[in-house]
Symmetry: C2
Subunit: 304 residues, 2 copies
Amino acid sequence: MNLARKIFEANNLFNLIEKGDKILIGFSGGVDSVVLSYLLFKLKDVLGIEIGLAHFNHHLREDADEDEAFCIDFAKSLKIPIYVERFDIKSLKGNIEENARKKRYEFLQKTSKKEGYNKIATAHHLDDLAETMILWFVRGGGLKGLSGFKAYKENIIRPLITATKDEIRAFAKEQHLNWKEDYTNYDETISRNLIRHKVIPILKKINPNFLSTVLQESIILQDEEAFLEDYTEHVIKNIDVFDVKSLKQEPRAIQRRIVRKTFGTKTFQKTELVLKLLENAKQIRLSKNKILEVKNGKITLRMI
Amino acid sequence: MNLARKIFEANNLFNLIEKGDKILIGFSGGVDSVVLSYLLFKLKDVLGIEIGLAHFNHHLREDADEDEAFCIDFAKSLKIPIYVERFDIKSLKGNIEENARKKRYEFLQKTSKKEGYNKIATAHHLDDLAETMILWFVRGGGLKGLSGFKAYKENIIRPLITATKDEIRAFAKEQHLNWKEDYTNYDETISRNLIRHKVIPILKKINPNFLSTVLQESIILQDEEAFLEDYTEHVIKNIDVFDVKSLKQEPRAIQRRIVRKTFGTKTFQKTELVLKLLENAKQIRLSKNKILEVKNGKITLRMI
């Protein structure tokens, strides 16, 4: 039961689980959540915790109800409480993957509150982290995206963050566990699959320790992102961000973050455009009907 | 001559070339350096610059002397001065690729100084930048590695930084230029080739604007890296970095950078180990014969 060590390793690095925790596990019935649930079930006395499962039936796949039945059976067989909600994600407008994620987390938060759980655990692992970091790098997510998701965020914890998919599958087989395979394929998933099956195997050839490197990078970059954010917030509180002279005295990296926060610029081009006001531009066009202009050393917004 | 615009774009972003510059171009005879030289030759009156070529014959390939002759012919045909040096890289110990790079830059610096050039230009382009950033990401180069190489560093400029390899090749064909292909393959090159031929094409499928995204990421991350470095240096000058209490007050991201600089820790594990002294550890073993210990709130080094 080597994978148990990974839980303790993650705990050592991030302090995810404390004695007395009541943890609600996001449970899809896939191999990751089955392994996480089984592991926490086996370790619950050692860790001094209680656990419950929460299954969100998205009605996205033909076998969604079969999956739900599997989840209920799994919970029953181990005598773990399970909470189930059904929701037709396709009835919502917009990106399916995005909506599914949002609704799933809403359900987890609502259920944990109602049922008295103080933490929510998801089964994200090291391969997920690597894929997320690469996806954000490719799409241009800046330092925040590059640093990946967090091992903990508010009441959400990810105890498998230091375990690889291979280790999780090996554990599932070794323990003769059953799970449901997810064959769904949305847009987000297609990009992720390309990274999973085509990109990461090559990166592992270049660096056989690629996955553990990713974890270290993520820890370092998350701390650097947090510091840059704190520093920026501190500056925003202490200077007049509309005053060209004050803004000009800040380092470029901080100017850029201030502009993004203050003027809501979403693209690199727009942010750089606003920064031109600090050099020589008298006015710039922020959007169709918004003009930023410098008057008496102050940046002001004019609607046209 | 669309590629000329890229030179002006790079200049606009990074102020690489100024009127009156005397620029020595690192000239291998490959398509990148042929295109850079030809472009700067065509633009020299518009830009108000003078140019020269510098060819370093590494004696690495069988056709190294043929390449040298090609370079001299190219320079003669356009009446550009050319400086050539021959050096047998294989005679040096250590990593060939690393030694070649070092010796090449030594030659460029020496020649520019001797012949009165104030800048050195290399033909690195946007694909090179993307490959470099990915290589460092895979190997774990932190924010510095991830931000790639600079468009300018001291007297070295890279005017093709915003141009892609495709654009460079297209220009070379359109202008009926000749060049020498480089078929060498060293270790570094193998990893780079995997990234070039196997990884980047997939990343372009996920984001068709991947290369321009990379350029923006690089600009943002370089500024953030520069700020973090400046901030760290400022802290080092202003606090006693051996004093546990003072060091503890700094953000984790800055603590980590201070530890790397002060104690020369090269790996993530070693750095984190030193950081344990700020929490509860009384002493840690830095290496075989070095122990760091906390005495009266001060970190001290003990040799054993």
